[in-house]
Amino acid sequence: MTNENIIEVENLVKKFGKFTANDRLTFQVKKGEILGFLGANGAGKTTAIKILCGISAPTSGKVSVAGFDAVKHPEKIKQNIGYMSQKFSLYDDLTIRENFRLFGGIYGLSRKSIRQRTEELLKRLELYEYRNRILEALPLGWKQKLAFSVAIMHHPQVVFLDEPTSGVDPVTRRQFWELIYEASEEGKTIFVTTHYMDEAEYCDTVSMMVAGQIRAFGEPRELKTEYGVKSVNDLFIKLARN
């Protein structure tokens, strides 16, 4: 982990009419860091992710991702990030290989590197022999892992994961987190939202959002000491209640 900031957010405000979805968010994320972005439903997580991904403009404030300004150059951010949403987001009627080819193509990879990356990532998942299977019939756990692989296929600097493990069994969740660690070791920054508080313990840094504001931000261990709680779960409940 270096000291280079890959995400810099300063006084980010997003309003929908009179409703303030994001209230003066300020935080930094370092290269290779795993940030757990926590908060109850409706706390404003998704809104913040949309702004960081460059598909929604902030009302005010400064946002920079991978060295690019989210307001001025959202298209440059898009090329440098990977994204996986909570809804399974590959195409069910295409084969595994066709899905890789599609997203590789969309991100402008050459034919050769698409082939190489597909082989590399599928072998890592031990799914290479299934590459010509249509996705529809595959188990959800496989699909989630495939979606993650597709999201990191073009070597993005930041990967946004919006509740990637919802609805997946514990074993697959564990395997999924191994993939996240590996990507982080390769220097990719991981920005992940989750409702599983045990997963939050795996993160380098956690951010706790309540009603549009970041109430706590820091290493899980430090935060637990600071608030005098035993787990991130207790921390979450304590902050969300007040």
Binding site: C53, G54, I55, S56, A57, E75, K78, Q79, I81, Y83, S85, Q86, K87, F88, S89, L90, Y91, D92, D93, L94, E98, R101, L102, F103, G104, G105, I106, Y107, G108, F160
Partner: protein, 368 residues
């Protein structure tokens, strides 16, 4: 460009992999054109008639012969009294009963006047009208030939010629209408459903986050359907020409260009519908009810616009298919060129521009 092509390729894979989509794209157009061509007819052929001939003389036999040899009527049965007429109609086969009065020939010679009664089954009024017109005309012809009425002084002869459609074949009217209907449905419904599907499945989010521009996404989704709709238009024309003998008297190039314009319009309408629908069902519902019914009812396809109440006439003026059908009929049947259809072309072009502007605005709004 390479990114865009990768996206279009995927779209084509979706279409060819889904048998239902393929069926809607290619099966329905062919089925519809054949159904409309063969089943829905305004002309009559082989109508069953019954004859109650009370005089059974030279003239009545000749008239009956003339009716049944015309190709329009078949003699189903002969009657010997008036009582059964009601029952015969209720049986449903016979649509017309011809009743000759007693001493038909004698009266005709002596008084220059004899009566034949035509009783039609008017539970289908349009058809009853057609049947009595046809049979009346045949009887009139007979009298003219037999007594050389042409030589009477002070007679005005009206000689009718049906231009552009000599035989009044209804297929000439249905092919252009069906073409408009199918292009509208296939282009607008299929695009709106395919965009709505991406929204419903959540894959749209991934596309929006990708480096593809929103315009590229929309154009990429539409491109395969442009090609398929052009293939559809050609299929319909080929069927019309070779199966139903429809003429194409004007320029084929102009016809194709106008079709492409109409396809573009339908596609942009489809995009607009998709921006308003959260899922596939809604997209389909709007497409069917907002496009299919008005196209069938208000475009002049089946019902003449001139006969509608004023309010519906105004409504029909904003129905794109109305103009396309006019253009098609002009080019195909009358053989006219751009000089006669520029007004309709301009209207279609204007509507296309409006739909595109609206959907771009809506699409951007949704991103926020």
């Amino acid at each position: 460009m390479k990114r865009f092509l990768a996206f279009v390729k995927k779209e084509i894979q979706h279409i060819f992999r889904d048998t239902r989509t393929m069926l809607i794209l290619f099966g329905i157009p062919i089925a519809q054109i054949l159904i409309f061509g063969y089943v829905i007819k305004n002309d009559i052929k082989d109508v069953d008639i019954a004859v109650y001939d009370q005089s059974k003389d030279e003239y009545t036999r000749q008239i009956t012969n003339k009716l049944t040899s015309s190709g329009y009527f078949i003699l189903n049965r002969e009657l010997d009294n008036m009582k059964n007429i009601d029952r015969i109609f209720k049986e449903g086969e016979v649509k017309l009963v011809v009743v000759y009065e007693n001493n038909f020939s004698k009266k005709l010679h002596a008084e220059n006047n004899a009566t034949v009664q035509l009783i039609a089954d008017a539970s289908d009024p349009n058809r009853a009208n057609l049947i009595t017109n046809y049979s009346g005309a045949i009887i009139h012809d007979f009298v003219k030939d037999e007594f050389h009425i042409d030589q009477l002084p002070y007679q005005i002869n009206s000689k009718v010629r049906m231009l552009y459609n000599q035989n009044l074949a209804s297929v000439f009217m249905f092919v252009p209408g069906t073409m408009a209907l199918i292009l509208m449905l296939v282009s607008a419904m299929m695009t709106s459903i395919s965009i709505a599907r991406e929204k419903e499945l959540g894959t749209m989010e991934n596309l929006l986050v990708s480096p593809l521009r929103p315009a590229q996404i929309v154009v990429g989704k539409v491109t395969p359907y442009v090609l398929l709709s052009i293939i559809n238009a050609i299929t319909i024309l080929v069927l019309g020409v070779f199966v139903f003998g429809l003429p194409i008297r004007g320029s084929l190039t102009l016809l194709m260009l106008e079709s492409v314009l109409f396809i573009t319009l339908s596609l942009s309408l489809g995009i607009l519908i998709s921006t308003m629908s959260p899922n596939q069902q809604v997209a389909m519902f709007i497409s069917l009810f907002a496009l299919m019914l008005p196209t069938l009812l208000l475009s002049g396809f089946i019902f003449p616009i001139e006969n509608m109440p004023k309010l519906l006439q105004w409504l029909s003026a904003i129905m794109p298919p109305k103009y396309f059908i006019t253009i098609l009929k002009n080019i195909m049947l009358k053989g006219t060129g751009m000089a006669f259809v520029w007004k309709e072309t301009l209207i279609l072009g204007g509507m296309t521009a409006v739909f595109i502007i609206l959907s771009v605005k809506k699409f951007k709004l949704r991103l926020e």
